[in-house]
């Protein structure tokens, strides 16, 4: 954009270039090993400096406007008693935060996350098992991989309906249990003692495929020769698992465990779609959303959102400590 505009920017216009620019250009020349780009007069260095910013501007503007601006506002709203409509927002200090941690109605939903946290352990165990056996040569390998992975791609609302249908009284699950002599099955979604297990089970069904594919990818990146060498040395499959596979994927397992914490706290779609948070199945996120949009307590809801954000940040920070060599090398 600078070159065509400069007009006189022919290759030998060095005479009009000021000294510092020239020095910079020389450095560039040395670094670029004989780069013969057209030279720009001095006035265009600003524009040249601006060029990368013009390229990131669009993405950056959206990021700041729709992610960081709302995030900052969350902090602001969280110290007010705003209802979302009123023109005035009264400063209430840390009252909302105190409520988050003392009001049992708000605080108790944290415990709902435990069901999903336990669920994610089950999920990882299943995923690890299937990833291990499918990493050895197996008939219909791609078919099995596809079937186990597919649920992860399905629309959340569709999954919600599939499992509402499965769990309904006299539905699929009850019919199948009757084959095994269970004649008096519980209300899978109506009984507050059971509903969270049913929902966590649905969540396991939905997300196992993702863990499975990630584990499988990690296992397959272990060099083939290692298995062959182990086989020649007479190592059993079990020994191969502990000596080769497990160390090779320990890192991704560790990461998945830590992600399970923030994942369990952020559970939203499955319970919201299936029960709407009824019968004690409301999660922290459902509670936040309802506080904001149904009960019109934007201040309190913002405090809840900030608490969740803080927990996620702490968990991520812990992850960096536990796995210090996990470098995000992007530039």
């Amino acid at each position: 954009m600078t070159i065509t505009a400069s007009g006189s920017a022919s290759a030998d216009s060095t005479a009009v270039v000021s000294a510092p620019v020239r020095a910079g250009r020389l450095r560039g020349l040395i670094r670029g090993a004989g780069r013969r780009g057209p030279r720009r007069p001095a006035g265009h260095t600003i524009l040249r400096r601006l060029t990368p910013w013009l390229f990131v501007a669009g993405a950056l503007a959206l990021l700041l406007l729709f992610t960081y601006w709302p995030a900052l506002n969350l902090f602001y709203y969280s110290v007010t008693d705003w209802d979302g409509i009123d023109l005035t927002k009264n400063f209430v200090g840390l009252d909302n935060y105190v409520r988050v941690f003392t009001d049992p109605r708000v605080f108790s939903v944290f415990f709902v996350s435990l069901y999903y946290f336990i669920g994610s352990f089950v999920q990882m165990a299943i995923a690890l098992y299937f990833a291990t056996i499918l990493s050895f040569s197996t008939r219909f390998q791609n078919l099995f991989r596809g079937i186990l992975f597919f649920p992860y791609l399905i629309n959340g609302v569709a999954i919600g309906f599939v499992f509402l249908y499965l769990f309904q009284p006299g539905g699929t699950l009850d019919t199948m249990l009757a084959w095994f002599g269970v004649t008096d099955p519980p209300q899978w979604l109506g009984n507050p003692d059971i509903v969270n297990w049913s929902l966590a089970g649905t969540s396991v069904w939905r997300y196992t495929g993702l863990n499975f594919v990630l584990f499988l990818g990690a296992i397959q990146s272990i060099p083939r020769e290692l298995y062959e060498a182990a086989e020649l040395d007479g190592a059993s499959k079990w020994q191969q698992f502990w000596a080769l596979i497990f160390p090779g994927i320990r890192r991704i397992i560790g990461l998945s465990f830590i992600l399970a914490i923030s994942g369990a706290l952020s559970v939203f779609e499955i319970p919201f779609i299936m029960t709407g948070g009824a019968n004690g199945s409301a999660t922290f996120v459902i509670q936040t959303i309802q506080t904001a949009f149904s009960f019109r307590q934007v201040g309190l809801a913002s405090a809840m959102a900030v608490v969740l954000l803080a927990i996620v940040l702490i968990v991520t920070w812990l992850q960096r400590i536990v796995f210090p060599d996990e470098k995000v090398d992007l530039v």
């Binding site: 057209p38 969350l74 791609l153 309906f161």
Partner: protein, 294 residues
């Protein structure tokens, strides 16, 4: 165990197993396939019974059990009902519009950002990358508490524009994929174009963007599936129109007792995903791996 004793049984181990070992390996193999089949059944059964229900008539649904296949596999009445009175058609059209616009936006903004980050040395680059990276940590649903106020304030509530803008926000995974791919495009190409008098925009638009096609395809697939499945944003920001997720979600009210119609709607939503998966498997797996190792 010394190497001597371990090495010697190696060849024998291959040519002829002892009877005990053969039995053990056979039972291990059957256990392996049995578990695989069980896993596949667990995955497919919930979906199959919904498929069964979607082909049943109202009366048939009432009289047969959920595990009984439908008597007529060509009974498409429920699908027709779902399409017309369930407003699924509207949902598909709206989803397509939002999907196409947001993907075009994401691709252009994302590749431009990646171009700047990969090809220019500039102050603040680390900061920009950091901002994109930290943004992924902010829980998206709870922050809607504040995002909603913003969308409302700029007058975009209940418009498709709001959704397009929200989905257009490029994420770090897309930018990372683009940067990674761009690093494999030799800088000499840029330089050659510059000698020919091309400016930076021309280089981006004519040289870099066409060469990024494989990375763009991966991002389109991964992001496309994510947008197609997005539920909460359309639920919150577009109450008067339906996207595919929200159209299906609204079946809960009017069709509350008509499970055969809900089943048909559910299948209609799953079929495009299945087709996309069967056609694009390799790209999907690749995109996921790229996202995981970020």
């Amino acid at each position: 165990m010394t190497t001597e004793t371990v090495r010697t049984p190696g060849p024998r181990h291959r040519s002829g197993l002892t009877p005990l070992n053969r039995v053990r390996s056979m039972s291990a193999t059957s256990a392996k396939y049995l578990s695989l089949i069980l896993g596949a059944l667990f995955t497919l059964l919930p979906l199959s019974v919904v498929l069964f229900a979607s082909f049943k008539t109202k009366q048939e649904y009432g009289t047969t059990g959920p595990l009984t296949p439908p008597s007529n596999w060509l009974n498409f009445d429920n699908f027709a009902t779902a399409f017309t009175s369930g407003k699924m058609l509207e949902g598909f059209i709206n989803t397509t519009i939002v999907l196409v616009l947001s993907l075009i936006g994401t691709i252009i903004l994302g590749t431009m950002a990646a171009y700047a980050i990969d090809r220019f040395p500039f102050r603040g680059k680390k900061l920009v990358m950091g901002l994109f990276l930290i943004a992924t940590l902010i829980p998206s649903v709870t922050s809607q508490v504040a995002t909603f106020q913003l969308v409302n304030a700029i007058g975009l509530y209940d418009t498709k524009t709001a959704l397009v803008l929200l989905f257009m926000g490029t994420d770090i995974i897309a930018i990372y994929l683009f940067i990674q791919f761009m690093q494999s495009i030799p800088i000499s190409l840029d330089e050659a174009a510059m000698i020919d008098g091309a400016n930076r925009w021309t280089i981006y638009w004519r040289v870099i963007l066409p060469l990024l096609k494989p990375a763009i395809a991966t991002v389109v697939i991964i992001k496309g599936i994510a947008i197609y499945n997005e539920f909460y944003a359309p639920f919150l920001y577009l109450p008067s129109e339906g996207l595919i997720s929200t159209s299906l979600f609204r079946f809960k009210g009017p069709f509350g007792a008509q499970w055969e119609v809900i089943a048909a709607g559910t299948i209609l939503v799953i079929v495009p995903t299945l087709v996309a998966f069967l056609l694009l498997q390799r790209w999907i797996y690749r995109g996921l791996m790229a996202g995981a190792v970020k």
